[in-house]
């Protein structure tokens, strides 16, 4: 099958074009030797099936950034029959260099002058016929967003793909300075002949909006207001949907699954319901939040506001080895760590992205908040409760900053931080929806297996040996708790609470449910039981540990998917466990010292 690759610089609307060309059937593809996920689709073109691959946006074929290396190895290892090179028409002058470099490799190219409407608005006119003649390749003026020029693009692609390739594609070699100079000259010549610029280049709307959004005094309050609103939107809308789903899953279990398996052996029934079914519902619970998150984040990114936010927060984040984009994702982590981790995709430098992913799991997410609220209401008066919760939030921020500071040299960023501030653009619904669907597909295919295996493991720990009460001291989890008690005793966490922590590994949502199983009482009775059996100091120590040790299996699965690096995941989880223990230890021992 012939292969067409989409190539271009970032912010040229390349993925929008890919979405238009691919319909809704895009998948995440795997290529040997390529370490990241690339979107690909098989589609009919010129009477043949072709494979269309969306390569990452790059500035230069030669560079050493993560994305540039991916494109290089893709070109060197996998045949490309045709490249659609996407340019932002208004920035044609600086973007032509990438095209010339590709042409030198003898890859057949089609030049797509995207965002043609924008250039026209700015008064830039491009003579595409002359450009095509000089470049010796088809040039199509188009707008992927509005679908303009799509038929022409498809037509020339179909023609080119059916031609026999005469010269073999060359491997990428380092550019000599002389090549660079000659490329520069070619570009100058091309631009002079075929592009007309107005005297005054001005995107008035962008100027006006920047004056507001980047105002030295109002910029930050507006930023926090926007983040707060996004947060409210995602989680006030997502929460009821999640609750509804949980209710539905419960009904489905009680009214349908339980009667269905009533005649089966107890352990088999439990494996299906408390193991497999719980695993599936754990995964499903994330679906609405992830979809909502990417619906909103696509708007923020595509509109151009995201890089403005990065601009404002950069000074602070630079000091701890991160950048402004990391700050936005970290804040999103306070809602749910999983989409926040997935969202770090926008950061295209590996070290920076890893460090950001390293600290996001310390953000106090809404699931942990539920656990804390239950324990705080059970053990603290209305006067001190809010203070305890506030301190936990402070601790969450502190943990993020301290971890970033300690590890910033380990994940040292070697790339210059230069981020484009593209003109403000209206996002299109079509692109936003497709993006969310791709993300959710990605999460489900990659995380489901991992999460279900984890859930089954915890199920086995708490349900075996078969003849003892579930999650009791005699179960494997109880024995593990006893075995671990030399570690947990100094931080005031007793064996029952250790079992709860083992459950909490799956998801924080089930910690309270696990406590109910462990103590054999529910609701207010459980609250009362905790009140009489656990001291306030022990409870705070337990909450500190819960906050830091690890958010949930889904977060770990996402860390694994996004980093594609198992040792990074182990590293991250070990650091969290260590830090959790140290903080709990410091708190518990000092409190004991002062209270006696």
């Amino acid at each position: 099958m012939k292969r067409i690759a989409l190539l271009g610089m970032p912010n040229t609307g390349k993925s929008t074009l890919f979405n238009r060309l691919s319909g809704s059937s895009a998948r995440v593809g795997n290529w040997p030797g390529i370490t990241v996920d690339l979107h690909a689709v098989k589609t009919l073109l010129g009477g043949h099936m072709v494979e269309l691959v969306d390569l990452p946006g790059i500035y230069d074929l030669q560079g050493l950034s993560e994305d540039e290396k991916i494109v290089q190895s893709f070109i060197n290892k996998h045949r490309i029959d045709l490249a659609i090179v996407v340019l932002c028409s208004a920035q044609i002058e600086r973007q032509l260099s990438l095209l010339l470099q590709l042409q030198k490799l003898h890859i057949p190219c089609v030049l797509a002058l995207n965002m043609h409407d924008e250039a026209k608005k700015m008064g830039i006119t491009i003579n595409e016929k002359l450009l095509a003649k000089t470049l010796k390749m088809p040039v199509v003026k188009m707008s992927a967003k509005y679908g303009e020029g799509m038929p022409e693009l498809l037509k020339v692609c179909a023609e080119l793909i059916n031609q026999k390739i005469t010269t073999p594609v060359k491997k990428i070699k380092p550019l000599k300075t002389s090549d660079q100079v000659s490329n520069e000259k070619t570009i100058q010549h091309l631009i002079k002949a075929s592009v007309k610029y107005p005297i005054q280049l001005n995107d008035k709307n962008t100027k006006k909006l920047d004056a507001l959004f980047l105002d030295p005094y109002w910029g930050l309050p507006i930023f926090f207001f926007i983040v707060f609103s996004i947060f409210q939107f995602i989680f006030t809308l997502g929460k009821p949907i999640q609750d509804l789903m949980t209710q539905f899953f419960n009904y489905f279990r009680v009214d349908f699954l339980e009667p269905l398996f009533i005649n089966h052996h107890g352990i088999f029934q439990s494996l299906l319901l408390d193991g497999l079914y719980l695993g599936v519902t754990t995964v499903a619970a994330f679906v609405p939040i992830i979809i909502l998150f990417f619906l909103i984040m696509s708007v923020v990114e595509d509109s151009g506001y995201f890089s403005r936010a990065a601009f404002m927060m950069d000074a602070l984040m630079e000091k701890i080895g991160l950048d402004g984009r990391g700050f936005v994702m970290m804040l999103m982590g306070f809602g749910c760590n999983v989409p926040a981790l997935m969202g770090t995709k926008i950061m295209r430098t590996k070290e920076l992205r890893l460090l950001t992913m390293f600290v996001i799991p310390f953000s106090l997410c809404s699931a942990r908040l539920q656990v804390f609220l239950f324990i705080i209401t059970a053990l603290f008066s209305a006067k001190y409760g809010p203070l305890v919760l506030f301190c936990l939030y402070l601790l969450s921020f502190f943990t993020i900053f301290i971890s970033a500071l300690i590890f910033k040299h380990q994940f040292k960023n070697k790339e210059p931080i230069i981020i484009e501030l593209p003109p403000y653009r209206f996002p299109t619904m079509n692109h936003i929806i497709k993006r969310s669907m791709l993300e959710i597909k990605h999460f489900l295919t990659r995380a489901t297996k991992f999460i279900i295996i984890g859930v089954l493991l915890v199920w086995a720990l708490t349900h075996f040996p078969a003849d003892v009460p579930i999650a009791s001291e005699l179960s494997y989890s109880g024995q593990l708790g006893k075995w671990l008690s030399p570690i947990f005793h100094p931080i005031g966490i007793n064996e029952q609470l250790v079992i709860a922590l083992i459950f909490g590994f799956i998801a924080k949502e089930i910690v309270i449910g696990a406590l109910a199983v462990i103590y054999g009482v529910e609701g207010t009775a459980l609250a009362h039981h905790l009140y009489t059996n656990v001291s306030q100091i022990q409870a705070i120590s337990f909450m500190i540990f819960t906050l830091i040790y690890t958010p949930c299996l889904s977060t770990i699965a996402t860390l694994k998917n996004e980093s594609k690096n198992l040792s990074f995941v182990i590293y991250s989880v070990s650091w969290a466990l260590l830090l959790a223990w140290v903080f709990s230890f410091i708190f518990y021992q000092t409190s004991l010292y002062f209270s006696t």
Binding site: Y59, D60, Q180, A315, E318, I418, E420
Partner: protein, 77 residues
């Protein structure tokens, strides 16, 4: 001759030299930062943060460190 770092908000200069290794130069070139180009500092972020610069139709944010590597000559008015 000065560096981009010394330009204040609203000022324009001409890029004279990129004082860095070849790969980095290539990267900056691809983003539009090239010798002979007119470069304008639109604004600077608070707390010694990055610069918001404009070259032709491209707007970028660039940190102080990278800005200090870009040598410029004053723009003839």
């Amino acid at each position: 001759m000065t560096t981009l770092l010394e330009l204040s908000e609203g000022q324009t200069g001409i890029i004279h030299k990129l004082n860095m290794d070849r790969l980095l130069i290539q990267r900056l070139n691809a983003m539009g930062i090239r010798r002979g180009k007119k470069i304008t500092v639109l604004r600077k972020a608070q707390f010694k943060g990055p610069f918001h610069i404009m070259i032709d139709t491209t707007e970028l944010m660039i940190r102080e460190h990278e800005a200090s590597l870009i040598k410029i000559t004053p723009h003839p008015l």
